[in-house]
C-alpha cells in the first residue's frame, strides 16, 4: 500500500522520513558490496520485478490500495539490506514517475514497504531455516523453504499494516476514528497477506527449482559430491502444467 499525501500530518511524515533515510543508509552500507559490484544486475532485476509486481493492485479495503508488496520475496532473494535499497528505488520511482504514493509521505512508505516487511520476513525465515534444513534435500526441502518463505512474507505484510495503522494513530486526521481505519487496513491486509504468502511461496518454489543459486536466504551447503543436474533444471523457464 502507498500512503498518499495528506493522510498523516507533517511532523509524523518528517519523523518517519528521518527514520527511513537512516535505515536505508545503514542498509546501503551493509549491502554495499552487492550494490557496488559492477558485474551483478540482481538488485536492479529485483527492483524492476517488485515495481511490476506492485502494479497488480487488489481492489480491497477502505481507502488503501492493497497490492502484492513483494518486499518479503525481495528480502529472501537478495537479503534484507539490498532489498531495502531496492524498495527505496521502487518507492521513489512510484512517487515521481507513477504518482503512486505521496512525496511528503516518502519516509512512511519506505518504512512500511521496505524496512519492516524486509526485516520481519528475513528474520522469520532465518528463524525457520534450521527446520527447513531437516527436510530431505531435493523437492521436499524446496517445498518446505517455499512454504516458510511464504509465511514469512505474509507476516511481514501484516507487520507493515500494523505499522501503517500506528502511523495513522499518531499523525492521522482526527476526522475519522482510528478504530475504523485500523479495522479497514487490518481487514484488507488479512486478505492481502494470504495472497502475498501464496504468491511468494509459488515464486520462491519456482526460483529454487530453476536457479537455487539466486536465493540468498537458502545458501547451499558445500556440495559433497558432483551430482547430475535435476531433470527440471534442463528446461529453464519452461511453463509446465
Amino acid at each position: 500500500m502507498h500512503i498518499p499525501d495528506g493522510w498523516v500530518d507533517l511532523p509524523t511524515s518528517a519523523a518517519a522520513a528521518v527514520v527511513a533515510v537512516a535505515g536505508t543508509a545503514v542498509a546501503a552500507r551493509r549491502g554495499a558490496a552487492a550494490l557496488r559490484d559492477r558485474a551483478t544486475t540482481m538488485p536492479a532485476v529485483v527492483a524492476a520485478y517488485v515495481l511490476v509486481a506492485q502494479l497488480l493492485v487488489l481492489p480491497v479495503g477502505f481507502g488503501t490500495s492493497a497490492h502484492l508488496v513483494g518486499t518479503g520475496l525481495a528480502a529472501l532473494l537478495v537479503g534484507p539490506s539490498v532489498a531495502i535499497v531496492c524498495i527505496a528505488v521502487v518507492v521513489v520511482t512510484q512517487a515521481l514517475v507513477l504518482a503512486d504514493g505521496g512525496v511528503t509521505t516518502f519516509g512512511l512508505n519506505l518504512i512500511n514497504d521496505g524496512l519492516i516487511p524486509a526485516l520481519v520476513a528475513w528474520g522469520l525465515f532465518v528463524a525457520a531455516r534450521p527446520l527447513v534444513r531437516r527436510a530431505p534435500e531435493g523437492r521436499l526441502r524446496r517445498r518446505a523453504a517455499a512454504a516458510a518463505g511464504g509465511v514469512a512474507a505474509g507476516v511481514g505484510s501484516l507487520a507493515a499494516a500494523a505499522a501503517a495503522t500506528l502511523a495513522f494513530a499518531v499523525g492521522g486526521t482526527d476526522a475519522v476514528p482510528t478504530s475504523v481505519v485500523a479495522a479497514s487496513i487490518g481487514g484488507a491486509h488479512a486478505v492481502l497477506a494470504v495472497v502475498e504468502a501464496g504468491l511468494t511461496a509459488a515464486i520462491l518454489a519456482a526460483v529454487l527449482r530453476l536457479r537455487p543459486d539466486l536465493v540468498r536466504a537458502m545458501p547451499r551447503p558445500a556440495p559433497v559430491a558432483v551430482r547430475a543436474p535435476e531433470p527440471a533444471a534442463a528446461a529453464p523457464g519452461g511453463v509446465r502444467r
Binding site: D5, G63, A175, R211, R240
Partner: protein, 255 residues
Amino acid sequence: MSSAHGGARAAARLLSPVSALAPEAKVVGLVAFLVAVAVTPPSRPAVLALAGAVALAVAAVALVDWRAVAGRLTLDLPLVVLAIAYALAGREPDAEVLGVALSEPGLRAGLTVLAKATIGIVAVSALAASSSVPEIVAGLRRVGAPAWFRRLVGLTARQLEVLRAEGARLRLAVAVRIGSPRRTAALSGGARALGSLFVRSTERADRLQLAAELRGAPPGTVPAEVETPAAAGPGDWVLAVTPAALVVIALVVGP
C-alpha cells in the same frame, strides 16, 4: 535487443517547451510543487484549485498524452473509496449532501487527500511526458546522487523493458500451450510463470550486461549516462520552480 534500452520510447516522445528544460531543474521543480500541494491544509480549497489549474496548464504545455493520464487516474480509485469511507465513518457534525447525512470533517479530509493525489498524477505526467530515463539519470548525477544509486535507477528502468518483453514471450508461450489465457488458467499457471519470469529476466539482464561490456562500455556504465542533456541555467531553474512558487504565494496571501 534495442527494446531493452528504451530507445523506441524516447524517439516517440514529443518535443515540447517543457522537454527543453534541464532534467535536474524539472525534478526539483516537481518535488517542490508536490510538497507545496501536500502542505496545503484541507481548509484552503481555493489554493488546491489553483494548484490543480497550474498542474493542468503545465501538463498541456508538456503535450502529455491525456489517455495516459486517464490510465494513471486509476490510482485514484482507492482514494475515492477512502473519501467515501471517511464521509460515512467520520465524526460529527454531519452535512446534508443529496439527502444523505455525511460527516463534514470526514468528507473534507477525504476529498483533500483525493484532490492532492489527482494533482500529483497530473503533475507527474507532465514530467514523464517531457523527460526520458537517460535525462533523469543525468539529472540525478547533477544533484549529487551517489553513483550506485544512479546505476540502480538506470538499470532498473532498463530491466522494466526486459521484464515487459520476457513477460510478453511467456504469455505467448502459455497461450500456445493451453489455448486462450483465461483467468483461471492464468492464475494456476501464473504464479509459476512469475517465478520463471524472474529467472529468465535475471539471465537476460546478465547477458545484456556482458554484451555492453564486450562492446567496450566501461564496466557498470548505465547506457542512460551516455546521452547528456545541457546543464540547468538560471532560466531553467526559474521556470521549473514557478508552479511551486505560485502555490506558495497563494498559500501565504490567498484566501
